[in-house]
């Protein structure tokens, strides 16, 4: 069986793909993964996943059918509005 190994380098960091290994079952896969990815204390944690359990999704972008800029940072242009609001409040030029 092929297992994919994901490693977390330090606590709190995201898991990243480290490589794959071949093992007859999960118990052996864990032993091999420790030897391959944990010998020098280089991994904080490992995820060991049978390859067939990994669902690969290619091109996951949800099509831009409508204007979806409200999902993004660049969808919020505050500069002009802020200027106007400050003008109305009489605080323009103070900050």
């Amino acid at each position: 069986m092929i297992f994919e190994v994901f490693r977390q380098e330090r606590e709190g960091q995201p898991f990243q793909h480290g490589g794959s290994l071949e093992a007859p079952n999960l118990a052996f896969a864990e032993t091999y993964a420790r030897e391959l990815y944990g010998r020098r204390d280089e991994s904080f944690a490992l995820w060991i996943v049978p390859r067939e359990s990994v669902e690969e999704v290619l091109d996951p972008y949800v099509a831009d059918v409508f204007d979806r800029d409200y999902r993004r940072v660049d969808g919020y242009s505050l500069k002009v509005k802020l200027k106007e609001a400050r003008g109305r409040a009489g605080t323009a030029g103070t900050g």
Binding site: H17, G19, A23, N25, L36, E56
Partner: protein
């Protein structure tokens, strides 16, 4: 994408994943190249293994054992990449012990003294790291990713090698002599290591950007990095023509390309003995694999 477009894609820096469509020639070239790399990691431990029981101190024995374990681990990771390309690990091992596939020239030579072990860990590893670092840019992404881990582990090995060399070079005259003899013995194979100076554009591996560094560039990088280190320790290199030109390029005597070809086609001084050891070890441990697989099933 047709083959020409694919080639343009990889030449421009495009990366290829396991499941992507790829030309047959590209897949074949990848298997050939990566399998030889896996073979070299596996065979490369044998010259060092011969010295585990004879290492001069317990610390060196442990370090050498750890290095051997790292290299076998590299071969496992690399054979996995080959396996995903379509050639099973068992088939790779069969072909290796049958002498059908190749491994690097430097692993066909004997290790006569502890000086050879030190020079291998220092200079052979250095030459190998130069090629391996260049592979971080390989067009085949799963291989490039694995090289990151491998290069990281190699960085310990090279320090281990330098430490062994410095211990000998700060020792007795006899110890310094051991190093000099080993450098003299290994210089020829080291100069052959990166291959003949084929023009990059004529190299099919370069064509597909499996390799992105020309052989001669790798050799120049090796000379640039290591000849000054060799000289500063008071060691000499057995090549009267070796010198660095004003423009930085190193000149050297033509390496013995016939020897390289002879050795990598299975006629090195230790080829048969080491392949024999691999065959013996596979047969001796077959019952363990059978037991483990039966138990796991």
């Amino acid at each position: 994408m047709n083959d020409t477009e694919f080639q343009a894609y990889v030449q421009e820096g495009g990366q290829v994943e396991t499941g992507d469509a790829m030309p047959d020639d590209y897949r074949k070239a990848l298997i050939k190249f990566i399998e030889m790399h896996g073979n070299s990691e596996l065979m490369g431990v044998l010259p060092e293994r011969e010295w585990i029981l004879r290492a001069p101190t317990l610390q060196r024995k442990l370090a050498l054992t750890a290095k051997v374990q790292d290299e076998v681990g590299h071969s496992q990771l690399i054979y996995r990449v080959v396996e995903d390309l379509g050639k099973p690990r068992e088939a790779c091992l069969e072909d290796l012990v049958a002498g059908k596939t190749k491994f690097h020239n430097v692993f066909h030579y004997p290790t006569k003294t502890w000086g050879d072990v030190a020079v291998i860990a220092w200079l052979v590893d250095a030459a190998a790291i130069i090629s391996q670092k260049a592979l971080l840019k390989c067009s085949y992404a799963p291989y490039a990713r694995i090289m990151k881990k491998i290069c990281w582990e190699e960085s310990f090995h090279i320090l281990h090698g330098r430490d062994c060399i410095l211990a000998l070079m700060t020792g007795t005259d006899e110890q310094r002599e051991l190093v000099q003899e080993a450098v003299t013995r290994w210089w020829g194979p080291l100069m052959q290591f990166h291959g003949n100076p084929i023009v990059a554009e004529d190299d099919p591996m370069y064509h597909w950007r499996i390799k992105s560094q020309a052989n001669e560039d790798a050799r120049q990088q090796f000379l640039d990095g290591y000849v000054p280190q060799i000289w500063e320790l008071g060691l000499t290199v057995p090549d009267p023509k070796l010198r660095q030109r004003d423009d930085g390029v190193w000149e050297y005597s033509e390496p013995d390309w016939d020897e390289l070809k002879h050795v990598v086609t299975g006629h090195g001084p230790k080829t048969e003995e080491r392949l024999g050891f691999r065959r013996w070890s596979r047969e001796e441990t077959a019952w363990v694999r059978r037991a483990v697989l039966a138990d796991a099933a």
